[in-house]
């Protein structure tokens, strides 16, 4: 068995790449998959804090690539789950410390021991992005329903196709169903029509994301949060499960609440 390498990227910064990587890693591990999450954002390390593993870093990605340690030594095991590992980014180096060829080699070394290798890409379309996408078998593009994020996502769709890594699949993050209903936000259908790639999942806007990140406990571990469920659904789809894309429910309107009150 050899791992599937999935790169999570977006073009624009701040749309949820790291949050998605952490949560998909957790959700896949909860489905008994052996997972390693690689932080490819060299110089701007963050996957460690989102996963709550920042205090356990000794070696990093660049140490492993430059031979300062064995690859196994740089992997941090998440004790809350049986088979989730983090390969943290170097914090004091920059994107040029690593080449796409070295990333491919690194992933090839990891492939025999894992089911999934998730790579958290840095924002942008330069060296860091190239390093993150080079070893990918699949690319997931994250966007939010905003003009700037969708425009940047479209650039990435084109680049992924040019690199023959396509077709990429799409995750729409931070969708607010109430705003969509009021015509104040691009809908899922709008975004899918504009980008013309397959939709892998929709994650609702959820304050639980901020709360769980404060704690270093990815929201997918939380059985109740809507966003956590969305990430678990995406993980299931990545494993080939047939989980239908259900439209997101907004908060109940006045009529909903009234009818529920009458019905008791």
């Amino acid at each position: 068995m050899s791992a599937t390498v999935i790169t999570i990227t977006s073009g624009k910064g701040g749309v949820g790449k790291t949050t998605a990587t952490a949560n998909l890693g957790v959700a896949l591990a909860m489905l008994s998959q052996r997972v390693v999450a690689i932080d490819a954002d060299i110089g701007l390390r963050n996957l460690d804090v989102v996963l709550g593993l920042e205090n356990r870093i000794v070696y990093d990605l660049v140490d492993a690539i430059e031979g300062h340690c064995r690859l196994r030594q740089a992997l941090i095991r998440d004790k809350r789950l049986s088979e989730l590992y983090l390969l943290p980014a170097a914090q004091t180096r920059d994107k040029n410390a690593v080449s796409p060829e070295q990333m491919i080699e690194l992933c090839d070394q990891l492939r025999p021991d894992f089911d999934f290798i998730l790579i958290d890409s840095p924002a942008g379309i330069e060296q860091g992005y190239r390093n993150a996408v080079a070893p990918a078998d699949k690319v997931i593009i994250i966007t939010t329903p905003e003009v700037s994020a969708v425009r940047d996502a479209d650039r990435i769709v084109g680049l992924v196709e040019a690199d023959e890594k396509g077709p990429a699949s799409l995750v729409i993050n931070r969708l607010n169903p109430d705003m969509v209903r009021r015509g104040q936000m691009l809908s899922t259908e709008d975004v899918v029509e504009l980008l013309a790639i397959d939709l892998l999942g929709i994650v609702p806007e959820d304050k639980e994301i901020i709360i769980s990140t404060n704690r270093g406990m990815p929201v997918a571990m939380d059985g109740k949060a809507a966003s956590g469920q969305a990430f678990r659904n995406i993980a299931g789809r990545l494993m080939g499960q047939n989980i239908p894309l259900t439209p997101l429910k907004g908060s109940p309107g006045v009529l909903d609440r009234l009818s529920r009150f009458i019905r008791g």
Partner: protein, 102 residues
């Protein structure tokens, strides 16, 4: 939107629709990476080259991009002058619409 507008049924366009329309336009230009100015220049050169072989109505030439899924298509609609008479002898009239994909 004011109360009076609402009363008279004058509705402001939804901001989500505005976002979609703006994106549709900007994405076409991002994808082909050709500015409107360059497009005009290309159109002039096309007219020069084709005029060497066929008499065309330069004012009626239209060069546009169309989009379907992730495929961009350059469509040139070039009206040919004088062809109508000759073809009409054979019973077909096709003076316009000699559009071709490039």
């Amino acid at each position: 939107m004011g109360f009076l507008d609402q009363l008279l049924g004058r509705r402001q366009q939804k901001s989500s629709d505005i976002a979609k329309e703006r994106l549709q336009l900007v994405l076409v230009h991002d994808r082909i990476n050709i500015s409107p100015g360059t497009l005009d220049k290309m159109k002039d050169e096309l007219i020069t080259v084709i005029s060497r072989y066929v008499e065309i109505d330069a004012n009626g030439v239209e060069v546009t991009f169309t989009q379907s899924r992730r495929e961009s298509r350059l469509v040139a609609d070039i009206p040919v002058v004088g062809l109508a008479r000759r073809t009409s002898v054979r019973g077909t009239a096709a003076s316009r619409g000699a559009g071709g994909d490039a």
